[in-house]
Assembly symmetry: C2
Homo-oligomer: 467 residues x 2
């Protein structure tokens, strides 16, 4: 029996896709940088089916590529061009298995779309705080496999910190049931941590027990003009001290981002006129009341004005206004995409190093590439910048792409010199698996390899990614 026939026997013929028209959506990544081939796309509906699929692929020595919503940004879920791969799509495994409000946990299958997890939590007056642009199609399994970040990390952490337990099909085909919904469990190595952020190279995540939080009574959002990144860092410090954990988001955007947005997506309303150098988006969540949140925010902004950390600000007076402020922040990538994209860097630095990093690296890039135009935005509260490089007006964007490798090198070297990361929240996938070798200690790469070999001795689990 061929592998494809075996897969059909396991999941049913209707869920083994082999026709090019059927498999195509699974073979190209979201940013359309990578297209691979596969002998089949298989869509199991249950954990035991995933285990049988993994065993069958293992026996046939077929590489396996786990895939969720296929919204990753580094090609981690796309097969290579070898034609032997089997894409294991988790999308049919989308049940909410259990919710326990008194324990603040929900247990969901890997194929659950992130937004659905958020919705289920809210229906039980709980918050599942992971939030990112692709939440309408990204799956929780993919979020966990890539340790997704997003806009609420400042308060709630990355996906990693939201996972209490996992169910994983190991490369051997064995099912590990580690779905414990416990806040404390010191009984040996915390294996789930290995699978979180491994981008499917150590096994297939099939379900997760997730942390929930009490739903805040109110959220309040302000859009603030700040004179410099240094002022933004001071304002962040002030906000953390004044609001503590009530500060749930602190984003920044440069004037160039908003200019591009105004040009490409004029329907997106800007809360403040372009013309300031930087803008911040500050969100407070409050367990008391809207009025209390407003009072904390007003005191904070008052002090920030006095200290010269803010030069203008507008506070959202309704949920609609808050959404419209967030829309500004979240439309930036689309505005860039519409004008041909740019050379993207998803970097993390110590927050304290950011102002100097941006000033020096902007200058270094401008000295070497006089046509370059930075469009910087990101999650300042986490030290995570999307430090993206386009071109000045009148210079075709192709110029930036022609020099992509050189630009990357300048940026990554500057990041490494300050103890930063060249992939803050997107992962390595195919995109950065070679670059990382220049920046990670050899002993770290060797230890990663030792773990990979120990868990996946045949090297069949998502080969060509991460390592």
């Amino acid at each position: 029996m061929s592998l494809v026939d075996e897969l059909r026997a396991i999941v049913g013929s209707g869920h083994v896709l082999t026709a090019p028209a059927d498999t195509a959506p699974y073979l190209t990544d979201w940013r359309k940088r990578y297209t691979g081939t596969a002998q089949a796309v298989v869509r199991p509906a249950e954990t035991v089916q995933v285990a049988a699929v993994v065993r069958a692929c293992g026996a046939a020595r077929a590489p396996m590529v786990p895939q969720g919503g296929n919204t990753g940004l580094v090609g981690g879920g796309t097969p290579d061009a070898g034609g032997q791969a089997v894409v294991i799509s988790l999308q049919r495994m989308n049940r909410v298995r259990a919710i326990d409000s008194a324990n603040d946990t929900v247990t969901v299958e890997a194929g659950c779309v992130l937004q659905r997890v958020q919705d289920v939590a809210r229906e039980h007056r709980r918050l599942f705080p992971l939030s990112l642009a692709a939440e309408g199609s990204a799956t929780i399994g993919g979020n966990i496999a890539t340790n997704a970040g997003g806009t609420q990390v400042l308060r709630y952490g990355n996906a990693r910190e939201l996972v209490l337990g996992l169910e994983v099909v190991l490369p051997s085909g064995a099912v590990w049931d580690g779905l414990r919904g416990l806040r404390k469990d010191n009984t040996g190595y915390d294996l789930k941590q290995l699978f979180i952020g491994a981008e499917g190279t150590l096994g297939v995540i099939t379900a997760a027990a997730l942390k929930l939080f009490p739903l805040p009574a109110a959220q309040i959002t302000a859009f603030v003009a700040v004179p410099s990144l240094a002022a933004a860092v001071s304002l962040l410090d002030r906000a953390r001290n004044a609001a503590g954990p009530a500060l749930t988001a602190f984003e920044v955007m440069s004037d160039k981002c908003l200019e591009r947005l105004a040009r490409e997506l004029p329907q997106v309303r800007l809360p403040l006129p372009v013309g300031q150098r930087w803008f911040g988006l500050v969100e407070l969540s409050d367990h008391e009341s809207e009025a209390h949140a407003a009072q904390v925010l007003e005191t904070l902004l008052g002090a920030a004005f006095e200290a010269g950390e803010a030069t203008d600000a507008v506070v959202a007076r309704s949920i609609a206004e808050a959404r419209s402020m967030w829309a500004v922040r979240e439309s930036i990538p689309e505005a860039h995409a519409r004008s041909g994209g740019n050379v993207k860097h998803d970097i993390a630095l110590p927050v304290s190093a950011i102002p100097q990093f941006v000033a020096e690296t902007d200058a270094r890039l401008a000295a070497r590439f006089p046509w370059i135009q930075p469009s910087t935005f990101g999650h300042l509260g986490d030290g995570n910048l999307h430090y993206n490089m386009g071109t000045r007006d009148g210079v075709p964007i192709s110029m930036a792409f022609e020099h992509e490798a050189e630009i990357n090198r300048v940026v990554y070297d500057a990041v490494a010199a300050r103890g930063g990361s060249i992939s803050a929240e997107h992962g390595l996938g195919q995109l950065k698996r070679v670059s990382i070798r220049d920046y990670k200690p050899a002993v770290e790469l060797q230890t990663m390899r030792a773990i990979k070999d120990a868990l996946d001795p045949l090297g069949l689990m998502n080969p060509g990614k991460v390592l």
Copy 2:
């Protein structure tokens, strides 16, 4: 050259202890359940010395036992009786390497005493929230190697969640510098997670980059009488919804704990008269003011009284009063120790399962051992109970110890049936390394073993612990 001579050459003769009088304090654990032997206790002062020690021990095939403050509760830092072990004490590596307030991070060496890390943070108007009874002598390296819990986990997580980066000497003697102070870093397997909670079986942690938090403006503490554990769980839910992340601790104690305390340590003042069934200790931390904290707490307690979740309460009116409330909670183990100890269980359960677990397991134990007397207390907010078993008045405590294995079996079976953990915050060490085999899936134990073999193929790193 003998191994001991080599060690002397590496760290200086004064820091290689071999005389029984010198080594004794390192060879018996804090609870005095385990005493081992060693060919030497070595006290390196720098990471390069630790690396050289590990290489020398590896070459001589000598087992190595990393040790911090030697305050562990499960014998994880005590050598076996074989006499070949080298205890590597990290106590001399106690420098604060760097503090970065704007990034909310501090980098410390493993031998730093926990209290010193707290103090350094406070000097910079920051909070390092890990807090536990042994904080005056426990080291941060030991806290991380055991993934310590304590009283603030509800809000800030276990030690694991407070670690951003580690420096580790691997079993090969290579130094891994993973001291990144970043909130986001998705560049491959998150190796630090392996060493956190591994109890020294995968390498020697020599330094850590830790998360800091803004210092709250005020803390307020209440001691509350609650009619039942179910009422305590309802009150916890109410407190989380009302205060959100301002709720920084939620502890419970049974009447029997306070009765014992009153008898053994009469100098410890009880805030409320004994006679209620359960007591809760509720702490709020506030970034606004003492007055605001008091107002949130009063509203909360008012609603709790109305709902029948609380029958009496006293709010600390000063820092001294709050300390005296915490002293009640923290003196319980000593009160038990003074009356001969008891059979201890450090268990975790879903919070929602706790009332029924305690009712049923109390009953099951009483049916089998009519002389038994539970003394239950713990971190209800984390689902973590110290579910300890003594004897009724007039029955010698030796009776409990004679039946320790049977009592453990009843308790662990009940814990496992509800998806709980038999070691919430203390680890496995020597004490539970055999028991765990009955409760963990075989595939999980096998995967732990595969990782151990991959990183420590000679099996020299803290053998006889965890696995």
